[in-house]
């Protein structure tokens, strides 16, 4: 593998984050953003672009987003190790816990742990959205779009795909 150590640094970082990504991968976005921008791998705008493209692609979009980052850092090998680091550790943990589930399914602590983690994962998801909004923001218009999208998903049962399409069109018309 001729990819720079940078893609290994990224992969190791992603492997740690994916192992603690309670509540899903959006919760780790602020941390990945800090790393990638601080190391000069990507600009805010590039990071936001990865997010945008992955969100309109069907399939495992957070894995794809991390692969775009890996692609930028270390080419195709970088993309592959990033993907593996993103889904590998959780898959191994899911598999093991599924095997052991019968042993701890009725233990009261698992309900308490879940109850304790829920508020944190909610806060982290919102932080993920906030950090992405900050990287995408070019002015009050994009902040207004972010606020409108949040309000629509909160207050209506619209398919998120329609909301995304509307946002893309507004952007394409040069309104941001």
């Amino acid at each position: 593998m001729n990819s720079s150590p940078a893609s290994l640094v990224l992969a190791a970082h992603l492997a740690i984050l994916s192992s603690i990504s309670f509540g899903g991968f959006p919760t780790v976005l602020p941390d990945v953003h800090n790393l990638a921008v601080a190391r000069g791998w990507v600009t805010d705008q590039e990071f936001a672009n990865f997010f945008a493209v992955s969100q309109v692609t069907p399939g495992p979009n957070m894995i794809l987003m991390m692969s775009f980052l890996g692609l930028k850092v270390g080419g195709i090998p970088g993309a592959i190790v990033s993907a593996l680091a993103t889904f590998g550790p959780p898959c191994a943990m899911y598999y093991l816990s599924y095997r052991l589930w019968d042993r701890f399914r009725d233990m009261p602590w698992q309900r308490i742990v879940r109850r304790g983690l829920v508020p944190l994962t909610i806060g982290l998801v919102i932080a993920g959205g906030y950090v992405m909004a900050r990287s995408a923001a070019v002015g009050w218009q994009s902040m207004a779009i972010t606020a409108a999208a949040a309000a629509l998903i909160l207050g209506t049962r619209l398919n998120p795909l329609w909301i995304l399409t509307a946002g893309g069109i507004l952007g394409g018309l040069g309104l941001l």
């Binding site: 936001a48 992955s54 495992p60 899911y94 909610i122 998801v125 932080a127 995304l164």
Partner: protein, 190 residues
Amino acid sequence: MLEWWESGGSGDRVPLSALFLGFLKVSLCGFGGGLIWARRVVVEQWQWMDEQKFAETLTLCQLMPGPNIVGITVCVGAELRGAIGAITAVAGFILLPWTVGLAIGGEVLQYAEIAVLQNILGGLSATAAGLLIGTGLRLLKPHRSRRTVLLFAGLAFAGMAFTRLPLPIVLIALAPISIAVARFESARAV
């Protein structure tokens, strides 16, 4: 002795190809709501699990890190065909969509300097960020009268949004306290 590798062998075995295709479908259809499609494919279409087993599996997945939808994929595969089933289901979920997405998305990103494309991407990322914020707020809504939930959600938010602290630090600092509070509250509720 290969039981862990290849289990669920009694009666009619679900073919690996069905697992692969089933989760490929979940992956491709699951735009913005993968769990709905997972339920549709696993419970309704193929009856790989009944409603209750599916709900239990989801509970397990919510306790673990990672995307819940990938967790469902691993568990259904493991339930039906053991380790090889889990690998096949995950491969179905990831392999094709990822390859196509990386090829097309990588190409699109090459041309991101083109003004119109950058404008579209800007609109999309601002919107997608809003969807994430809105989803988080929607999850918070049922708990809005519980002050401790609001407090810990707020602390986790502030920890990641306004400081440059790494996620492991924020989790190690907050999770034990939050779990202790949850324990105290449920002990008091009994």
